[in-house]
């Protein structure tokens, strides 16, 4: 595959006079796990929504799976998966029905689905409760179901928006192992989080603060560059500098 998984230049989004994303440049390589880090309200969700064609950018360009997402959102959508912050499955359908539904919506044939549904159930450890209504599942199960739905059509790239928010540590551990497996099979993963231990598991990271990038690199590069022991320490330092800059400007 040519080009980049995601390529954005000067990507911007303003809601009225409030700027949520302020001229973002991003380059995500094929096959990597790319982490978008930032505190609440820093523009992570808005960025992902622009990259999936849910929001129209106020400015800039974005290519996703090497296709212009503003010009051809449907072509992009056929090849990406998206797990929203709110998990987009149906609470009144069972685990299995949700996977079947999304398989159908993504245009899998009956035969493809017959093969794919059991695969997804096994892969994401959903087998035991396949007949349980999704609404009655606990956090870890919901999260894995959302991932199973988002990957049912074998996308080249998935966006995961805060997939582990409010989930217990053991489930988070399992979830990250699953993401690693997906990545090992060649799926490009773009994941947002504000858990710093998860940041260490990404191939590369981008720090967002108030809608703009304040640092990009591998976890090792980043800690080395700043001479600090952990990603968390770097994050706090970058945030402090960014806030100070704002203080100077104000």
């Amino acid at each position: 595959m040519s080009g980049l998984g995601v390529e954005a230049h000067g990507l911007r989004k303003a809601f009225g006079s409030a700027v949520a994303v302020a001229g973002l440049d991003l380059a995500v390589k094929w096959g990597e796990i790319f982490g978008l880090l930032g505190p609440n309200g820093s523009g992570k969700t808005t960025t992902i929504r622009m990259l999936t064609g849910l929001l129209e950018p106020s400015g800039g360009q974005a290519r996703v799976v090497d296709i212009d997402v503003v010009a051809s959102p449907e072509r992009v959508r056929a090849r990406i998966g998206y797990m929203s912050q709110r998990f987009g499955f149906y609470e009144d359908l069972t685990i299995e029905e949700n996977i079947r539904f999304y398989g159908g919506v993504y245009g899998l044939t009956r035969r493809e689905r017959r093969e794919r549904i059991p695969q997804q159930l096994t892969r994401y450890r959903l087998d035991q409760r396949r007949k349980q209504l999704a609404g009655t599942l606990s956090g870890g199960w919901k999260q894995r179901l959302a991932l199973a739905c988002a990957t049912v059509h074998r996308p080249d790239l998935v966006f995961l928006d805060e997939p582990t928010a409010g989930v217990d540590p053991a489930s988070r551990q399992l979830f990250w192992n699953l993401i690693r497996e997906d990545a090992a099979e060649g799926i490009t993963v773009i994941v947002t989080t504000h858990y710093m231990d998860e940041a260490e598991r990404c191939d590369r990271l981008a720090f967002l603060s108030r809608g703009h990038l304040i640092g990009v690199g591998t976890p090792a590069e980043i800690t080395e560059r700043f001479g600090l022991p952990t990603i968390e320490a770097v994050f706090i330092e970058l945030q402090r500098r960014d806030d100070a800059e704002l203080g100077l400007l104000a």
Binding site: L54, L93, V105
Partner: protein, 376 residues
């Protein structure tokens, strides 16, 4: 490479039916509400019409006049309250509200009958009584008149040919019985309301729960998405219609003079058009509560201007124009035509064509207005 979605509409339909089957409460409401409504509507009319307090001025004082009074009270519509001496007294009783109906039988009543001349009796009905719809009262009076005629003819003996002219005043509803006339209308009104509300809520609920965002990110096309959401409600619409028809028939003897096939065919474009209105509503609102409000708001012109309650011919022109823009206006003609007059669908082709036009335009508009984004 992932194939581009070919028939995602089947997935949508399947999902909607599974969800509908599970949502027993909503399903029960969709079927229960029309049953309750029709029963209330129908019985409200019936109980009002029955047992109206009646006074009598019997100036004839003959077996024939007494037979007439017996005939009237035996219909159940009237309860005999008092025998009065003169017509002035009648006015006082009615004005006080102690009587809602009065029968005045002139002195010559029996004599006219015996001479085989036409005999005249007068039934006065208090149409201003806010509790009793005038149409219903007039209709009941007419029934009483019919029955009276029979009874009196019998009372006059086997060779008794004279006719009895029971004049009911006011005399402004030639309909046989108002529930018969109203039930077909209720089918239309209820369908417009529920179809608009269920279609708009179906979309808005997905928006509120965040599943619409997920759907938008799939390559499903807008038409499949929208049609997938509404087609299952066609079934609900037909079930509702069937329930009202059955209840109307069992409780109120509403006839089905024309063909059922014609009726169900004729209902299709109307149900689709109403669902189209619901989809349009869904593109304009963000919460279920707003969708409900707009649905009820839509009910208003439908009740007032479609010809459901008042004849359109008597309306001022602007009101007629608004009525002409409502699918219900045309569907009422289809309903009453088929149910009451036994007209066939071919005769109703202009109405059906108009309704089909409505449904195509409304669905197309809704699909066009729907945006596969979340920032409108």
């Amino acid at each position: 490479m992932t194939p581009v979605a070919r028939w995602p509409i089947w997935a949508m339909l399947w999902k909607e039916f599974v969800q509908m089957r599970r949502d027993r409460f909503t399903l029960a409401m969709m079927i229960g509400i029309p049953m309750i409504q029709i029963a209330l509507f129908g019985y409200a009319i019936q109980t009002e019409v029955r047992h109206l307090p009646m006074v009598v001025v019997d100036e004839s004082r003959s077996p024939q006049s007494r037979a007439l009074i017996r005939a009237l009270t035996s219909t159940g519509y009237f309860d005999l309250e008092a025998h009065l001496e003169d017509r002035e007294e009648v006015r006082r009783w009615v004005e006080r509200g102690d009587a809602a109906a009065a029968v005045i039988i002139p002195p010559d009543f029996a004599k006219d009958l015996k001479r085989r001349r036409e005999a005249t009796a007068q039934v006065i009905i208090d149409a201003a009584d806010p509790l009793s719809p005038s149409a219903a009262i007039a209709a009941s009076g007419q029934i009483a008149a019919l029955q009276t005629r029979q009874m009196v003819v019998q009372a006059a003996g086997p060779q008794g040919l004279p006719s009895v002219d029971v004049r009911v005043r006011p005399w402004y509803n030639p309909a046989l019985k108002s529930s018969v006339y109203i039930v077909p209308g209720i089918i239309g009104v209820l369908l417009s309301m529920t179809m608009v509300i269920v279609a708009s809520i179906a979309v808005v609920r997905e928006r509120e729960r965040g599943t619409l965002e997920q759907l938008i990110v799939t390559p499903i096309n807008k038409t499949s998405l929208m049609l997938g959401k509404i087609v299952p409600f066609l079934v609900v619409g037909y079930v509702q219609m069937t329930v009202i028809l059955l209840v109307g028939r069992l409780l109120f003897g509403v006839p089905i003079s024309g063909s059922l096939v014609d009726l169900y065919l004729g209902a299709l474009p109307f149900i689709v058009a109403s669902l189209g209105v619901g989809l349009l509503v869904s593109t304009a609102v963000t919460t279920q509560a707003q969708a409900m409000q707009l649905g009820f708001f839509y009910l208003l012109p439908n009740i007032l201007l479609s010809g459901f309650m008042f004849p359109r011919a008597a309306m001022p022109e602007p009101a007629q124009w608004i009525g002409a823009a409502l699918p219900l206006t045309y569907f009422l003609l289809v309903l009453r035509g088929i149910l009451l007059k036994g007209v066939d669908l071919g005769t109703l082709a202009p109405e059906v064509a108009t309704l089909t036009g409505f449904s195509v335009v409304l669905i197309a508009l809704a699909v066009r207005r729907f945006n596969k984004r979340i920032d409108g």
